[in-house]
Symmetry: C2
Subunit: 216 residues, 2 copies
């Protein structure tokens, strides 16, 4: 499958490596063409990897992962282009973290709205699936690194899009029973609002090598 990655940070590079590693063609997009991080990633990731702008990556992908920082996500998607994203599965991995008051960050949107919903409204023809935003990227692509069962939540309005994302997660090592469909994109409020407790647990542990699970 052809996959676009928006964003050159650790989340985008980690997902890009894994997606290329399991056989997909992956194009990483940056704000500007010639971005050295994206070019370096593509050179290291092999023949199935390439680099370009946000618009290039969005045009390339059948599935597009939004791995930008939450504060830049809507701008990045506008650069990618609503037209290029129309009809495509847009996997939104971002969190609306607001570091303007220091650490730990608060959320720039929550409770009665979410970044996932804002993105779906801004890109009405994209098939947005909120996913993987409740864990460190090392766990996203290697769930079996943790013993026991733990969860990847999906939220989105398009059942087929969620099924496509679940298929990709299966290639990462997620078991079917670990992939929990929470319903429509409004459930992004729930997953984004897990960030404050995630950050507390991260601070207490000193690492992100954990994930949420459910007993019962």
């Amino acid at each position: 499958m052809k996959i676009g990655i928006l964003g050159t940070g650790i989340v985008g590079r980690t997902l890009g490596d894994k997606l290329a590693g399991v056989g997909h063609e992956v194009r990483m997009g940056a704000r500007q063409s010639g971005n050295e991080t994206a070019a370096g990633w593509a050179a290291a990731a092999g023949d199935r990897a390439s680099a370009g702008t946000f618009a290039d990556a969005a045009a390339f992908g059948e599935v597009v992962f939004n791995c930008t920082k939450g504060e830049h996500a809507l701008d990045a998607l506008r650069q990618a282009g609503a037209q290029a994203l129309a009809g495509k599965v847009l996997v939104d991995v971002t969190n609306p973290l607001d570091f303007s008051r220091g650490f730990p960050p608060s959320l720039s949107v929550c409770n009665t709205d979410s970044l996932g919903e804002q993105i779906q409204r801004a890109m009405p023809e994209a098939r947005v699936v909120k996913a993987l935003n409740t864990m460190w990227c090392g766990i996203m692509v290697d769930p079996r690194r943790l013993s026991g069962s733990h969860l990847a939540f999906l939220a989105g309005n398009d059942a087929a899009a969620k099924s496509t994302v679940a298929g990709l997660l299966g290639q990462f090592g997620w078991r079917p029973e670990e992939i929990v469909d929470l319903g429509d994109i409004g459930a992004a409020r729930g997953t984004e609002m897990m960030l404050p407790i995630w950050l507390r647990l991260y601070g207490k542990r000193g690492d992100g090598v954990f994930n949420f699970a459910i007993a019962g």
Copy 2:
């Protein structure tokens, strides 16, 4: 130990039953004296149970559980009296649920503040511990009803108060490693903000017989 319970709803009655059952003296307080629910509960719960007003229950308890509805919590605590609560462990089980827009509720406070923090500020001499607000009351008092390990989060500024609460949770059947101290009362933001995903999971399952856990 003498325990006060503020609130006559299912959470207060369930905790009251359990606390009396493990040997504590429990006084349930209601807004007005002569509340029939509180009197009926006390009659059924046995010799160690009694009923009165919020102020009666607060004066009685060495530990006081706030089991009112979130929207009434601050009013109820003012009725109980800052003086009566001074120096006492105040276990805040509430969530700031706002049903004014229908179901599912949103939160009336979150992100940069929490109900737990509001209560600590309103009752500065009480030793507030946010606890048990991330699960259905049937799990609070019977954690072994679920197979496997799952978590009870504590947040509060007073280490000895958290230790007292952890001791009570141990009497309910919580294992020491399942009781997670998240730090100061500011962590109540994190546990209260788990409500939206809890509500989604509740809606999907159709019951509250589950709880959050951590893998890793």
